[in-house]
Amino acid sequence: MMAGTYDIVVVGGGHAGIEAALAAARLGLRAALVTHDRREIGRMPCNPAIGGLGKGHLVREIDVLGGEMGRAIDETALHQRVLNRKKGPAVQAPRAQADKHAYQRRQEEVVCGQPGLTVVEDDCCGLMVDPLAAGGAPAWVIRGVKLGGGRELRGARVVLCTGTFLRGLMHVGEERRLGGREGAASSEDLSGELRRVGFTLNRLKTGTPPRLRAASVDTSRLQAQAGDADPLPFSFRTTFLPPARIECWLTHTNARTHAIIRENLHRSPLFAGAIEGRGPRYCPSIEDKVVRFAERDRHVVFLEPEGLDTDEIYVNGVSTSLPADTQVAFIRSIEGLERAELVRHGYAVEYDSVPSWQVRATLESKPVKGLFLAGQILGTSGYEEAAAQGLVAGVNACRDLTGLAPWLPAREESYLGVLVDDLVTKEILEPYRMFTSRAEHRLRLRCDNAESRLADAAQEIGLLPAPVLRSLRERNAGVAAVVQLLEGWRADAAGGGPPTTAADLLRRPGADLAMVGLELTSGQELLAQIENMFSSLSRLAARAALAEAASSVAYSGYIIKSDKHLSRQAHLEHMEFPPDFDYAAIQALSFEAREKLHRMRPATIGQASRIDGVRAGDLAVLSIHLKRWRETRQRKEESCDGAE
């Protein structure tokens, strides 16, 4: 039985699915989003927060490119902070606590109200595929998905964003039950379907801490963590942002907490060996921390309210899969939590993921033509990483269908590029999370300059409405003009001393525009001129534009230097392998490199160079063989020409 026919079918209503489905509909295609329950769209099953280092960068980029996440968090944030305020702008990023339910409601409304997008409440039980020519890659082409009861939802392109639902298995102590997350069933059939069409799957693990009833927490003795008085938005379209509406609190574990955990380690599924999946090292469970860092006598715990209309508090820092009674005991050993009531217990969840070397940089899968994957199914963790992939997959599914060239973000222009490139070149053994240290071009890939970096890409993608794009361009031109003004503004130092340019002053460590205003004789005049140049922008936007201009100037010398160092390999970076390039035949490659290259099939030498296990020697061999391959082909072509 047919349930409908669409251009793009998106499976999953999480953060990846939302971006993919909205992008498809906004690009003018007929899209469907399949979810168990529309009220689950945009749910935050773990920490109700968005942003932070690397992740905040991703959200800023998603926003400029026309994605939804930035505006959603700006509208529903309760508590915002810019992290690393005392460090340089390249490693600053906004982080916001969301009102969890408000966020969900907001995303549900946007998705359900989007013209051209149909929400289908159903299970996705299987894939509809047709075989392609025997022995070829891809071996299949997608035709749609199978819903509950065998109904067929046809789609020319399908984007799978099923999160942790593939054979999800939850652990609380010795208890286990099937499920993708608290209160949601797992998807058992889809794993088998993916295997059937040739995917390799692996097992990953993640976890979440207990939630406490707010009224049962004694915050009177705890240190409050206030939000920023003048918060920074994620979205360049946000013109007003209220100050923090809640407080978070800080407390610590102690020797007694650690003793309780140690006594019960044998009941932890992680330590008893019941969990086979690999968990993230950057987000260890509290039992992990206590064992691995035995010398530390305490660990920080953040208490984060989950919303205005909920009584739940998220206990950040104590993710756990210990048995329920142990959770209660160790939580109550923590200062301020002596009488805490657990609304929900922490748990670990194991799930199947599709190792990401099985997708191309468009996020289209290699075994099945027209099938795209995005989000946690590809082994990443985090709402932001998921949303970024949803956008890339959604946009490229549309471009593929309409015959446009793929949109491939590059490492040197965005964190999206870093993310996608890492996905296609890395063997992900633990849930992948973005870090700024993954970006070679960190000094350029800043939160403050996402608008300037990505305006061209935004135009190419076409998700921003024309007037929005126009004002974005105007804003960027303004920033460039201010940078020029600062570079050329030469004046005497106010306290005497040789004349200097505003730009050179800004390049001094710790300098900012306010300081320039004071230290140059004509500093105030300069500031007034700059303010005037941004007068058409909102107060928030003007502040952000000013910050971008200042950090562009401050970093310019370092960025030039860093580009120089990175350009040494640049000629190899975009050298492409022919689609039928036979790595297995190159004896010259080390065994490890040969095996990985054969399996992962990088598109360029640059991608090959980032595959772990491919060493400088292997790259030399590859470039020699590529050159030889090209020469042979050229000779063949020449001899063909001669025959004519």
């Binding site: 690397g54 690393n84 953040f302 240290s437 000094l443 460590p509 010259a588 980032r610 030399a620």
Partner: protein
């Protein structure tokens, strides 16, 4: 890499055994053409040596690459089928041989002739003479050697002196990689601390103190400088200590050159300007290789050919480790020679026997000039001692033992890394430089250092971060 190559693999004329190595997909087939008996009969067992009589290939062998009659080089007179030597024949089948290809090694009797004959016979049977370093290149391309190892092997092959060979061997055993790791590992640790403090903003990591940063930087710079300063030593060990004789025409340079060699190598004549090009010779003394260069005399005027010779002289001097300024006792001359940076200038008075008993005339020659007389051999041993000391032979032996055999690529990378570290040190003051800039400089320094051994970067860094920090809220 499609053809099969052959070369004598041991140094000429020294060892009791000489090894001829044959490598390539046709190695076994070609070897069979010169091996009598069933030493290479099917099935060929890898790594099993058999004694066999070798012969020149038969003229009738239709599969030989070239006609044996023509392939026979002028220096040998051999007939097709003639027996050459008895040798151990060792097949090493792919991928187990040194090059990763099918390889056959022949251990012949010592002395250079038997081995050269066998190699010639293999060429006559269809192999090609291997170019310099070609076996190592194949081994590298076949993934049998890392880049530094391959470079070390190439150096080892070219090392015709004990110290150079020892250095290459030490490097092959990871000497250089260890030295690089001693620089890079503390930097990596520092970077991990800085990155951790940036990435996990909420986790209360302070990052390294300015003092800790400075201490690690100072130590790393010092190690880098030591390594870079060993680059000339590496060059000396690999290519030999370059000793260049210069001086006015007819000062007796060529006679001195021959006396230092102990043989009549350079053409000696009383007419000025006899040596019109640079004549070079290699001498091994005390386990070190010296390359002596006899140059055209420096003087104004002279013909066009002589001018060209003088230009060559200048170029040779520019690459010298030791410059020997020669002047004749009967003609102190005027030529002042500028020795290039980092080289040592020795003054020598040749034909000192002409001075009679009077010895050095005060003020005419430098006080420390070595007086020599090539005819009598006077002062030659003394001059050699001065050359050895000028070349720093003790330091060279020490460098050889450490395995610090830097080539130009290593040196360039090391200098690059050192520059990044110095730039970072210059940014540092009482306060640590901004963390993201420190990280940037450290990263680039490490990229340069890692390129020496060809490592892959980011994942290791993150692994370091995770090993060090109890991260995550």
């Amino acid at each position: 890499m499609d053809d099969t190559i052959v070369a004598v693999a041991t140094a000429e004329g020294q060892a009791g055994l000489a090894v001829v190595r044959l490598s390539g997909h046709a190695a076994v087939a070609i070897a069979r053409r010169i091996v009598l008996g069933d030493a290479l009969a099917e099935p060929v067992v890898s790594h099993r040596a058999r004694l066999a009589v070798l012969r020149w290939p038969l003229a009738s062998d239709p599969s030989a690459g070239t006609s044996p009659a023509h392939a026979s080089p002028g220096e040998f007179t051999v007939a097709p089928g003639q027996e050459l030597d008895q040798a151990l024949v060792l097949p090493l089948l792919a991928p187990h041989g040194y090059t990763g290809e099918d390889t056959v090694e022949f251990s012949c009797h010592g002395g250079s002739l038997p081995a050269r004959l066998v190699a010639a016979a293999l060429r006559a049977a269809g192999a090609r003479a291997a170019g310099p370093g070609e076996f190592s290149r194949r081994a590298f391309l076949n993934g049998k050697l890392s880049l530094t190892e391959a470079e070390a092997v190439a150096d080892l092959i070219h090392a015709d002196n004990a110290a150079g060979a020892r250095a290459a061997l030490a490097q092959l055993r990871g000497g250089l990689e260890r030295e690089i790791a001693a620089v890079a590992d503390p930097l990596r640790g520092l970077l991990a601390e800085i990155e951790g403090a940036m990435e996990f903003a909420d986790d209360e990591f302070a990052g390294p103190t300015p003092a800790a940063l400075a201490a690690v930087l100072t130590e790393a710079c010092a190690r880098c400088e030591r390594l870079v300063s060993s680059a000339p030593a590496g060059r000396c060990l690999r290519d030999g200590v370059q000793v260049v004789l210069v001086g006015p025409p007819n000062a007796g340079k060529s006679s001195l050159f021959n006396a230092l060699l102990g043989e009549d190598r350079a053409l000696v004549d009383a007419e000025p300007g006899t040596t019109r090009d640079v004549v070079s010779a290699r001498v091994v003394r005390g386990g070190l290789l010296y390359v002596l260069h006899d140059t055209a005399g420096l003087r104004a005027g002279g013909g066009r050919v002589e001018m060209l010779g003088m230009r060559r002289t200048e170029e040779t001097v520019a690459g010298a480790d030791v410059v020997i300024a020669v002047s004749a006792a009967d003609d102190p001359g005027t030529g002042v020679v500028a020795a290039p940076d980092g080289s040592v200038l020795l003054s020598v008075v040749a034909k000192a026997d002409l001075l009679g008993d009077g010895g050095a005339r005060a003020g005419v020659y430098p006080a420390d000039a070595v007086l020599t007389a090539s005819v009598t051999g006077m002062g030659i041993d003394n001059l050699w001692r001065r050359i050895e000391s000028a070349a720093g032979s003790a330091d060279l032996h020490a460098a050889a033992a450490r395995g610090a055999l830097l080539n130009d690529r290593h040196e360039e990378r090391l200098r690059g890394g050192l520059s990044r570290l110095r730039e970072l040190a210059a940014l540092s003051g009482p306060e640590a430089p901004p963390a993201e800039l420190s990280a940037s400089y450290l990263r680039f320094a490490l990229l340069e250092l890692d390129e020496i051994s060809g490592r892959v970067f980011t994942e290791r860094l993150l692994a370091d971060v995770f090993a060090r920090f109890c991260v995550g809220k």
